[in-house]
């Protein structure tokens, strides 16, 4: 999933006509000062760390400035931060507006209804999970007719806005709906959405674009998620690879089987450290690459759990044997294998020839790998 930083989300908002405070991004304290001095960002202004994590206000990642010098100081303080593991590389400076009320508004997907859903609450400005459920309205929207006026009236009612503010909301909802669809968003969220005078202004912007729609959005190709270097390499090779805290590497095929394997390991006291989902690959080269990647994560032991369906057991075995030859000494690890299903016999034979025994049951093989990694925790 592609999470856009606030300033980038706001660029999209601007494109779709959603009203914003006047503001600009700065990457150095000097830049921040210059923006304030030139009036590009009117004073007093807010200086906000451009990180993806929430809770910036409490975390000291949002500051205020009344003068260009204060803008510089604030930017300098924030640009040095490492906020919840994220290094702050940009700050967003925005005019401070006279806020009458703070509202909450978002559009996301309701999987059960299979419909986009507008979520609204008159209690904006805080994390929506902390708002009482009765104060939150969920308005599903059918994609064929699109957002209907009666649905917009319902949102206006919930937000308690009338007159010109309601008119502003009407336009804003149309914009947000269009953005949600055209940009293949998983989530568009405005929190807080501020009532300022007779209009509405989006004080924050949270936009998440769906990964699967990347082919339609080359403009987001440069955005990296919070991945480890190995995870980044895996992504480039199209291997699902996640690093956890434990010491057992798990290679399986299919998300469900991978998760089930982790469940079994945990249950017997094992501690999975990396999991790698081969997916439906049939390509020995891919298998080899996956193994080498696993080796670089330096697990204490590796558990290979494959059920051959589309994937053939012999192909996986061949890739594995090839990979084992290439793993440098420093990265060697004990390996426990369980390969079942399509071409199982051939696969087991290939492994045996390379000195690896395939243990047929999940229970036994899981216990074997836990032992190999130094025993249950």
């Amino acid at each position: 999933m592609v999470k856009l930083a606030e300033w980038r989300g706001k660029e999209l908002f601007r494109k779709y006509g959603i009203p914003l405070p006047r503001g600009q991004v700065a990457r150095t304290p000097e830049e921040a000062e210059a923006l304030a001095r030139a009036g590009t960002v009117p004073l007093p202004c807010v200086v906000k760390a451009q990180v993806l994590a929430g809770g910036r206000g409490k975390g000291g990642a949002v500051r205020f400035a009344n003068t260009p010098e204060e803008a510089k100081t604030a930017a300098a303080a924030i640009l040095g931060l490492e906020f919840k593991g994220e290094k702050v590389r940009e700050v967003l400076l925005e005019e401070k507006l006279p806020i009458a009320r703070e509202l909450y508004l978002s559009i996301t997907l309701d999987r059960s209804l299979r419909l986009p859903i507008v979520i609204s609450s008159a209690q904006g400005g805080m994390e929506i999970e902390t708002v009482d459920d009765t104060a939150i309205e969920r308005t599903p929207v059918h994609p064929f007719p699109g957002l209907a006026s009666y649905e917009k009236r319902r949102v206006a009612h919930v937000l308690g806005v009338t007159g010109p503010v309601a008119k502003s909301l009407d336009r804003l909802l149309d914009s947000l709906w269009t953005l949600f669809n055209r940009e293949d968003a998983e989530l568009v969220e405005i929190n807080p959405l501020a009532v300022v005078g007779e209009g509405l202004v989006a004080l924050d912007a949270k936009v998440i674009i769906e990964d699967d729609a990347a082919f339609r959005h080359p403009e987001y190709a440069d955005i990296r998620d919070d991945r480890t270097p190995l995870e980044e390499i895996a992504r480039e090779k199209e291997i699902a690879f996640v690093q956890l805290d434990g010491n057992i590497g798990v290679i399986a095929n299919g998300a469900g089987l991978t998760m089930a394997t982790l469940d079994v390991l945990k249950e017997f006291g094992g501690n999975p450290g990396v999991f790698l989902d081969l997916g439906g690959t049939d390509d020995p080269k891919k298998v080899t690459e996956a193994f080498l990647l696993m080796a670089r994560a330096k697990p204490r032991a590796v558990f290979l759990n494959i059920f051959g369906g589309v994937t053939r057991c012999d192909t996986v075995a061949r890739g594995l044997v090839e990979a084992m030859k290439q793993v440098p000494d420093a990265e060697r690890f004990p390996l426990v294998a369980r390969i079942r299903g399509n071409n199982e016999k051939e696969g087991v034979e290939i492994l045996r020839a390379a000195g690896i025994t395939s243990i047929p049951t999940l229970k036994d093989s899981a216990q074997a790998v836990i032992a190999a990694a130094g025993g249950a925790a």
């Binding site: 986009p116 994609p143 339609r216 469900g256 249950e267």
Partner: protein, 294 residues
């Protein structure tokens, strides 16, 4: 027809000339499925695995009376392929393709539904009724005819479980792999009534995963409408919380969506809950034995 497919299912393969399309056409035929036509634009007149290829679904249906489609076309074109199938009057489509944007799938689902059609998938292994027909990619070897119905959100894990049922000496009536995408054409709630109403199914196995609330919704349905015994398993109990869909996602699931809430809901609905996949065949066998005694 028992559950969606049977001997009268006439399968059309969209994207038949691709690698996956060709491989699985062969496998579906080997399963005994009547694969009657393939479609790849520009490839009309050729054959794949003895199956005639057409340029358009309309032509394929006119020539072969195909009544189900198996879609392998790449994600950017999958929406169009499904619309073409629906417009040609095909009411059952199994979408194997993965990585279809959910915005596309929303259109696919609601359009298909408006025409009375049903989608299985996307990103799914499909449906198989041993001895009758298979539409999708579940490996043939895991099946044998029997009276256990399987509904699963997983792929490979489904194969493993279905295979386990076979190795325990039991067989399957029908197995549906629903797919694990955010929007699926057929969810547990949609599939459960089919198995409940199927005279060839005695026990239902439900295999879920963490994320979303499809299992909780299914449990609700089971509680009110399913009288057949259900064995349930949820994968991902130990998975890290992972990357959620922002705060708004949590608001929709309202505290549901974890392995715990799913297992609790299924258990409360009367399902037997397996802690590990390999426990499923045993639980099923126990139920079958009890049923036999009655």
């Amino acid at each position: 027809m028992t559950v969606l497919v049977d001997e009268n299912t006439r399968v059309l393969v969209q994207g038949i000339t691709g690698h996956q399309g060709t491989v699985h056409t062969r496998q579906m035929k080997a399963f005994g499925t009547r694969v009657v036509a393939g479609v790849t634009p520009g490839k009309a007149g050729t054959e794949v695995e003895g199956v005639p290829v057409f340029d358009t679904v309309r032509e394929a249906v006119a020539a072969t009376q195909a009544n189900a489609s198996c879609i392998f076309v790449p994600a950017p074109y999958a929406k169009d392929a499904l619309i073409e199938a629906v417009d040609a009057g095909i009411l059952l489509s199994v979408v194997v393709t993965e990585h279809i944007p959910f915005h596309d799938m929303l259109v696919m689902y609601h359009y298909s539904r408006s025409k009375g059609g049903r989608i299985i998938g996307p990103n799914c292994p499909g449906i198989a009724a041993p001895g009758k027909a298979k539409v999708g990619i579940i490996p043939n070897v895991v099946f044998q005819p029997g009276r256990v119905g399987v509904i699963s959100r997983s792929g490979t894990l489904t194969y493993e479980i279905v295979n386990g049922i076979k190795e325990r000496g039991l067989g399957q009536s029908t197995c549906i792999g629903l797919g694990g995408d955010p929007v699926v054409g057929t969810s547990f709630v949609d599939a459960l009534p089919l198995f409940q109403g199927d005279p060839e199914t005695d026990v239902i196995v439900l295999v879920g995963e963490i994320g979303g609330t499809a299992e909780e919704d299914g449990a609700e349905y089971i509680r009110h409408h399913v009288t057949k015994p259900v064995v349930a398993y949820i994968a991902g109990r130990s998975a890290p919380p992972g990357k959620r869909m922002g705060h708004a996602g949590a608001i929709i699931s309202r505290g549901r969506g974890t392995a715990e809430t799913k297992l609790a809901a299924l258990s409360a609905a009367g399902a037997k809950v397996a802690r590990f996949p390999y426990e499923i065949p045993d639980l099923v066998a126990e139920i079958v034995a009890r049923q036999a005694r009655r």
